[in-house]
């Protein structure tokens, strides 16, 4: 069963200079996929276009078979699209609880408190101090809150833009442990990452984007020896890369 399908997506900030240039792929329900690629390849722009934050100029995006191309971001949330931006992904002037309450507004009234409690169980760091301002959280805790917010509405697809950005190795481990737990509950995961090793440890399948186009779509294992990545990131053109 296809959860997310892109067909020939063109997107960017300026119609004359698209950053994503005709990308097609599908993600099955329950699958975890990471999107890799060098800086400036258009990974972030693509995921934002899917989430309704960047204009699409051509092609289409389907969520569970429904065409969602170009819908506003708040409409997509209601349709089961969860998105965690890379930076500024929580409201720092609101409390932790309020951040979750905003997201819970989309749920039926009787479910709200229960879902918030479930998130606090999943992220005890947040549950221990719900009335603190989110701005007081550390980098890793902010990512937790952002993920909890997106998960609260039980999205069909959860997309994250570089959840490891700016985190220490220990926190990266924690965040990816959390993502693994999330993935194991059956949520479809789409992940843009720079931290290739951590991402490949989590997902079965990897997409590599280069200059706005898909350069690789296949099992994540194929990338483990680092040859392709060495070429992409460090300019190695020969097979001894990564050895």
């Amino acid at each position: 069963m296809t959860a997310l399908a892109l067909t020939g997506l063109h997107a960017g900030y300026d119609r004359d200079l698209p950053i994503v240039k005709g990308v097609s792929f599908t993600v099955q329900r329950g699958e975890a996929v990471c999107i890799l690629g060098p800086n400036g390849a258009g990974k972030s722009t693509m995921i934002k276009a899917i989430a309704g934050l960047v204009p699409c100029f051509g092609g289409e995006v389907r969520l569970d078979g429904t065409d969602i191309t170009g819908l506003a971001s708040h409409v997509l949330v209601g349709k089961g699209m969860g998105f965690v931006p890379q930076m500024e992904n929580i409201f720092t002037r609101l409390t932790i609880l309020e951040n979750l309450q905003i997201a819970a507004q989309l749920l039926p009234k009787q479910d709200r408190a229960g879902r918030i409690d479930a998130m606090f169980d999943m992220f005890p760091d947040l549950g221990s101090r719900p009335r603190e301002l989110a701005g007081a959280l550390s980098g890793g805790q902010r990512q937790m809150l952002a993920a909890a917010r997106a998960l609260l509405t039980e999205p069909r697809v959860l997309m994250l833009d570089e959840p490891s950005a700016g985190l220490s190795p220990k926190l990266v481990g924690q965040v990816f442990d959390t993502l693994r737990r999330i993935s194991e509950t059956g949520v479809t995961l789409v992940l843009v990452e720079q931290n290739v090793r951590a991402a490949l440890g989590l997902t079965e399948r990897a997409l590599v984007l280069v200059d706005g186009q898909l350069a690789h779509d296949g099992p994540a294992d194929a990338l483990h020896d680092g040859r392709l990545l060495g070429e992409l990131f460090l300019g190695h053109r020969t097979a001894e890369a990564g050895s």
């Binding site: 550390s138 980098g139 950005a165 700016g166 220490s168 720079q194 951590a198 460090l234 300019g235």
Partner: protein, 260 residues
């Protein structure tokens, strides 16, 4: 090209910058010889852009110092840095889109008398003479970056690569001693990439030092005798590009973003 015997043109010591609780740049020091090209590489999030912004004066420095040819620029505003001989380009070029290519370059001349409201009013002759001289110089520089044929066009018509060349021309017009280049290869098609690399080398041959932050390893390999690899805000390795990119710890940070 590195000449350790000469005093460095750029001396940065203990540069440190935190955002919130996050140390983006952590105690980085670097020296740049008077006619050296130094590359700074590293995975995304390593702090390269922040380092660039600290040197260019785009964000305030928490700790450390920056000296250009002995002049303390640690807290100088961007407009003061270029006057002291430190020029910069932008990763996404920022031409003045509705001004012509020639005007874009001329804007960047330093010490223009006509930029003072008073001189523009009371000394039109001197201003005109200086303008003619500047125009000629700007045209020479446009020749140098192969944009002469576009001098009367608004900058908005330029392609991505041409915009990068215009940025080079603009910064050259300011007569710098050091140019900070922020990803000059980003968004440039392969044909123009060769030209840009060639022009950077030519600029360097004029005795202008270049500090280059870049992801494109081909450009790094062709331009930089020496690179610094950044990871997690620190300098992880330093040396010739061919050597450092094969070090296991460098490959690790590229694949994991952090030193193991």
């Amino acid at each position: 090209m590195s000449q350790p015997s000469q005093p460095p043109i750029l001396q940065a010591r203990g540069l440190t910058k935190s955002f919130g609780g996050f140390r983006a740049v952590n105690d980085i020091s670097l020296d740049l010889g008077t006619s050296e090209i130094l590359g700074v590489i590293g995975p995304n999030g390593a702090g390269k852009s922040t380092l660039f912004n600290l040197l260019a004066g785009a964000v305030p420095i928490d700790a450390g110092s920056v000296h250009l040819a002995g002049v303390n620029l640690t807290h100088a505003r961007p407009e003061a840095r270029i006057k002291s001989g430190m020029g910069r380009t932008f990763q996404i070029p920022r031409p003045f889109p509705r001004m012509t290519v020639l005007e874009n370059v001329m804007t960047s001349a330093q010490g223009q008398r006509g930029e003072s409201l008073l001189s523009a009013l009371i000394a039109p002759r001197q201003v005109a003479a200086q303008e003619r001289a500047n125009a000629n110089r700007a045209r020479d520089i446009l020749d140098f970056v192969s944009l002469s044929h576009l001098e009367d066009q608004p900058a908005s018509v330029l392609s991505g690569g041409q915009r990068k060349l215009l940025e080079l021309a603009r910064v050259m017009m300011a007569d710098p001693r050091l140019i900070l280049l922020d990803e000059p290869a980003a968004g440039v098609n392969p044909a123009l990439l060769d030209l840009i690399i060639d022009r950077i080398l030519a600029i360097n041959r004029l005795g202008i030092a270049v500090l280059l932050i870049e992801h494109n390893m081909e450009m790094i390999a062709r331009l930089c005798p020496r690179v610094i690899v950044m990871a997690a805000g620190k300098a992880l390795a330093e040396g010739a590009p061919a050597e450092v990119t094969r070090r296991a710890d460098v490959i690790d940070v590229y694949l994991e973003g952090m030193p193991a």
